[in-house]
């Protein structure tokens, strides 16, 4: 490797290494999140404050030191403190003291599940706040009053709401996908009759309670924790499962008993409603007065958006700041948007705990389907934002006409088969699981069990945000359970049930028709123009407890109006193209300009030398060094006058061809200059148009004929066709009929003659030929000599390089002898021969050998 090549190679290698290192640096996983310290916090709770419970907690000190606000992070039902470890670590990294704990009855904490009861879980958490107040890292508002926020999803969200109601020390909350009224969540009723007459949400209730009962051996884990605390080792005794435990798992017996009753009958008793409501924010209306970020899921048939609506309204009524966000997922699956929820929560706490002036989000944020990302081909979500939360009625409403006759619907005996709108925990399987906001899976209604009313095709796109309402009439006898669903339907496609949500109704039918106003589930959905909205009233739904008695009722419309709420304030942030889509091309074009401008050969316009205007060629101090350091041409100077036939003479490797290439502007000299008719030769010098050349073999397009090659070459010079003297040139080539054949069929000699003819096109003033007689037969050589001599007679000049002395002797008037890149001799051939005469030989060969010093 030569020195120069080595340097370039090194530079390329370095660039590649830097690029690879950069990629690795970007892609390398960052170091782990802070790990919490496990602590066991003993608390005392119960209605009489006499039950001792050990709470298994993890404490994450804030990163960055100093006193920081604290965050209590609750887990979902069936989870434990480990479920939220990652979020806790992230919050600690952001400078919060974070305490996560397993609620009583979960994980390794002792005690029984009391469903976030004020007597149990709320008391526990209040003592966790006491514990936090003693930590030296926690910022205090007053003695024993830490600056503390609470966040969590579902069960962990409800405890945030409940604690905020019962403990004034809580400064901000961010509950997500949780309940307002647990009784209403389990016994919903869409005409507003309340949970007492609600329809039992049997599948969700079953999953909910079994999640709490799954620890069939509740004592063993908790015992282990107690032993751990006491320092005693030894195997826990295999505890037997009592019938009570098998039945109730880790539930408080009182709660277990209530559940047994309602699950068996499918009806809410007043005691059950009371008990569930004591664990619900509905029982503490007006007592939550702290800044609250309420996040709810659009795919949530357990705690639908209506719960968030009521929570938000109750808290906002106290004057506390409230923001609402509807995320895409929920208890039924879908995208839970963990990153978005975390970012929003962090932002909320930064604003209301750190009070660092961080701007909170907009009052209302809705996650919507943003189509597929063109790069990853994955669905993306857009977050439409509005200044304030309008409630489920929208800021404005659009009324659509519903059409459809009265229809008979049958309730099947035993409630089977049943329609499917969502299957708790399995909804993802019904499709649309990964969909964005408002999208949903397919839904199945059974013929004979459904009455369908439809709007006309929409003439423009309508985005519904909130709860649509419709009025129906139910004819018949006795009580009937109905489910109202609103589909987005288009011809040729499966109708979509947004969120997979159905609104259950319990109606006392009358022969004259009982009018019912149905509040359909709250949704956010863009209904395209041309689609229809289809109201389906079914008698069954798999997720609910259904009457066992068969019956038939007639369902019709009480009013043809379907009221659709619209939030005109919601707007998706403008999705401008990524910054680099305009920045990269711009930078690249600028870089290209720099590359081109700096790469311009420094061509200080060299003025032509008028004194040399009639001198065909003058070479001064010409030097060319090849990359390996070899000097091909070394300080060469000579001059050619008009009318001369100059022989450039030298052995192979003397630098003849290199010199000729420099004359043609093909290679850049390292030193010296070449002037043709007084003008300095640089690549592409216009004066080269007066030069005809043939150097180192012919160069033709093999697929074209000889004539076409010459014609196209001349056209490529852009000069007038009449100046070419094409026929004269072809005559010199002497190819005869072969001139019409493709050049690839030519012999070496034919190509050579054609190339010389090409050099003579336009009769240039200076003709430069490199070994022109190579490969010609003797008659052709003789002819060529004649042509060259004749060519020079009309004031034109010919330069011929050769290593054949006889050639030069017979053709040339003058000769320049080169050896190893240097000029050895220059002058008329006759003079050279005379010099030889002095040395005793008139043969040019001897003179030549003498000149180059080989004739020792």
């Amino acid at each position: 490797m030569t020195f120069r090549g080595g340097r370039r190679g090194l530079a390329v290698l370095a660039a590649v290494l830097v690029a690879v290192a950069g990629i690795i640096w970007i892609a390398w996983p960052s170091d782990g999140l802070p790990q919490g310290q496990d602590v066991v916090i003993p608390v005392v709770d119960g209605p009489a404050d006499d039950q001792k419970v050990l709470i298994d907690a993890s404490y994450f000190p804030p990163e960055g030191g100093g006193r920081a606000p604290a965050v209590l992070l609750g887990h979902g039902f069936g989870g434990s403190k480990t479920s939220v470890r990652e979020q806790a670590g992230q919050l600690a990294e952001q400078g919060y003291a974070v305490l996560t704990w397993s609620a009583r009855g979960f994980g390794r904490s002792t005690g029984e599940i009391a469903l976030n009861s004020p007597d149990y879980e709320v008391k526990d958490v209040r003592q966790l706040i006491d514990w936090l107040a003693k930590k030296p890292e926690v910022l205090l508002d007053a003695d024993g009053d830490p600056r503390v926020g609470m966040a969590g999803g579902s069960y962990g969200g409800a405890i945030a709401l409940m604690t905020a109601a019962y403990d004034a020390r809580v400064d901000a909350i961010a509950p997500s996908i949780t309940w307002y009224d647990l009784a209403d969540a389990l016994f919903p009723e869409a005409s507003g009759a309340g949970p007492a007459t609600g329809v039992f949400k049997k599948m969700w209730a079953g999953i909910f309670f079994s999640a709490g009962g799954s620890g069939l051996n509740p004592a063993s884990q908790a015992d282990g924790l107690a032993r751990l605390l006491n320092g005693s080792t030894g195997q826990p005794a295999p505890a037997g499962v009592t019938p009570d435990q098998a039945q109730c798992g880790r539930f408080l017996p009182a709660i277990c008993a209530v559940y047994q009753q309602i699950a068996a009958t499918g009806k809410a008793t007043p005691e059950a409603v009371d008990l569930l409501r004591r664990s619900s924010p509905v029982s503490v209306q007006g007592r939550i007065k702290v800044p609250s970020l309420i996040i709810q899921g659009q795919r949530d048939s357990l705690f639908p958006l209506g719960h968030a609506d009521l929570n938000a309204k109750a808290i906002a009524a106290t004057g506390a700041p409230v923001e609402v966000a509807w995320i895409a997922g929920g208890h039924d699956g879908g995208d839970a948007e963990a990153d978005f929820v975390f970012a929003q929560t962090l932002n909320w706490f930064d604003a209301h705990l750190k009070k660092d002036g961080a701007a909170t989000g907009q009052g209302f944020t809705v996650s919507r389907d943003g189509g597929r990302d063109p790069g990853t081909r994955q669905n993306v979500l857009l977050h439409a934002e509005g200044e304030s939360y309008p409630g489920l009625g929208g800021t404005v409403t659009t009324n659509l006409d519903l059409l459809g006759p009265d229809q008979e619907v049958a309730t099947p005996p035993g409630g089977s088969p049943a329609a499917i709108s969502s299957v708790p925990g399995l909804s993802g399987l019904l499709g649309g699981g990964a969909g964005g906001g408002g999208s949903a899976g397919a839904s199945l209604d059974l013929p004979g069990q459904v009455a369908v009313f439809q709007t006309r095709p929409l003439d423009r796109t309508l985005t519904v945000t909130g709860s649509p309402t419709a009025e129906i009439k139910v004819y018949g006898e006795g009580e009937v359970t109905l489910f109202a669903k609103l589909y987005d339907a288009a011809s040729g496609q499966l109708a979509v049930l947004p969120g997979g949500l159905a609104a259950p109704l319990r109606v006392a039918a009358t022969p004259t028709g009982t009018p019912v106003t149905v509040t359909l589930p709250a949704i956010d959905r863009r209904v395209e123009a041309g689609h229809v909205l289809r109201l389906a009233i079914t008698t069954t739904d798999m997720a609910y407890a259904l009457p066992a008695q068969p019956s038939v009722h007639r369902v019709g419309l009480a009013s043809t109006t379907l009221t659709m709420p619209v939030d005109s304030g919601l707007a998706a942030p403008a999705q401008g193209p990524a910054w680099w889509t305009w920045a990269f091309p711009l930078v690249s074009v600028l870089a290209a300009a720099v590359i081109l401008l700096t790469g311009r050969p420094r061509r200080a316009a060299v003025a032509p030398d008028p004194a040399l205007a009639e001198v065909p060629l003058q070479i001064t101090g010409l030097t060319k060094r090849y990359k390996n350091g070899h000097k091909a041409v070394d300080e060469l100077s000579f001059r050619v006058e008009k009318g001369q036939v100059l022989g450039l003479l030298g052995p192979n490797g003397a630098g003849k061809t290199t010199t000729m290439r420099m004359m043609m502007g093909l290679i850049h000299p390292d030193g010296g200059e070449i002037r043709i008719f007084g003008e300095k030769v640089v690549p592409g010098s216009p004066v080269l148009s007066r030069l005809g050349s043939f150097v180192e073999g012919a160069g033709f397009l093999p697929h074209l004929s000889g004539r076409d090659n010459l014609k196209l070459y001349w056209q490529a010079t852009g000069r007038p066709e009449g100046d070419a003297h094409l026929e004269e040139a072809l005559e010199i080539a002497g190819l005869g009929a072969a001139v019409e054949r493709a050049v690839r069929t030519y012999s070496q000699g034919m190509r050579q003659r054609l190339a010389i003819a090409q050099a003579m096109l336009g009769l240039p003033d200076l003709l430069v030929l490199d070994e022109p007689t190579n490969g010609l037969d003797p008659p052709q050589i003789a002819e060529m000599r004649r042509v060259l001599k004749a060519y020079a007679t009309e004031g034109r000049t010919v330069i011929v390089s050769s290593h054949l002395l006889g050639e030069v002797e017979q053709t040339c008037s003058h000769a320049v002898v080169m050896h190893r890149g240097r000029l050895v001799s220059a002058g008329p051939v006759a003079e050279l021969l005379r010099r030889g005469e002095l040395n005793g030989s008139t043969r040019l060969e001897d003179v030549f050998l003498d000149l180059i010093g080989e004739n020792a």
Binding site: P585, S588, A592, G599, P686, A698, F700, L704, Q715, A716
Partner: protein, 280 residues
């Protein structure tokens, strides 16, 4: 003083370069192949077992027999990733290197055609041939598909929705334009290599090789978002233009990436050629 009638700005007219390149067997064969491909596909579809019409799946290949436009979309999707890219690499990679290989380059330069002008004219002609290559496949496919399967509305892959044929035609224009733009990277790399080497095969092969490497890197999930900046990443983004709700964001990104690479590569090509010693 120059020879009479010589003006640097008149050298190597585009017409001359077009003729020089067009009469080459390479050009003829490539265009013949591209024009024949749709017909071969039509024949293949006619003879193939006809069991894909049950409406499931709805991949772009299942819909090819829906009509001329559907067939054209299919033909473009199967040829854009490799065949068209090879054609573009051929036209742009061969143009200067083959002249060097034939030794005709030095006579053109000594004519003299100024180096920048020679490169510019050659680039324009090579890009024009490339554009023609990219156009000939879909145009011929519309023709062949319409003759074979009729002039029908377009069914969209995936959802199976139907778009009126006349609404899709302008989008087809956009798709073809986009295919040209994405091939700019291959074109400019091939051109840079063409300027740097005497071997046409080396220039074409080098450019194709880069595309293969880029495609392989694209499959490495671990690179994450970095893959968006690979030159081939957005090559299939034109499919979004044929969706019922066209999404041009991918195509905008693809255009940005293509222009970014192409501008720098072409600048290097010109810089290199200016300073180069032509010894072949």
């Amino acid at each position: 003083m120059t020879a009479t009638g010589y003006a640097p700005g008149r050298t190597l007219p585009l017409r001359v370069e077009f003729v020089r390149q067009f009469r080459r067997r390479r050009t003829m064969v490539m265009f013949g192949l591209l024009a024949a491909l749709p017909w071969i596909l039509v024949v293949a579809f006619q003879f193939g077992p006809n069991n894909n019409r049950n409406g499931n799946g709805l991949r772009i290949s299942d819909l090819a027999m829906e009509g001329g436009l559907n067939f054209a979309a299919f033909a473009l999707s199967v040829s854009a990733s490799f065949l068209l890219m090879v054609a573009v690499a051929l036209f742009c990679g061969d143009t200067v290197a083959s002249e060097a290989n034939w030794s005709s380059l030095r006579y053109l330069l000594a004519a003299p055609i100024p180096r920048d002008r020679l490169l510019r004219q050659k680039l324009i002609v090579a890009l024009t041939y490339s554009a023609a290559a990219v156009t000939v496949v879909p145009v011929m496919a519309v023709l062949a598909g319409t003759l074979a399967f009729g002039w029908n509305d377009v069914r969209v892959p995936g959802t199976g929705e139907v778009i009126a044929a006349l609404d899709v035609l302008p989008k087809f224009g956009i798709v073809i334009l986009y295919a040209m733009v994405t091939n700019l990277v291959v074109a400019s790399l091939a051109f840079l290599l063409s300027v740097s080497t005497d071997s046409p095969l080396g220039a074409v092969g080098g450019a194709v090789g880069l595309v293969i490497v880029s495609t392989i890197l694209q499959a490495v999930e671990a690179l994450g978002g970095l893959r968006e900046f690979l030159p081939t990443f957005w090559n299939t983004a034109w499919l979004d233009a044929l969706a019922p709700v066209p999404d041009y964001s991918g195509m905008i990104k693809g255009t940005a990436i293509a222009v970014t690479y192409a501008a720098v590569l072409l600048a290097f090509a010109f810089r290199r050629f200016r300073r180069k010693d032509v010894v072949s």
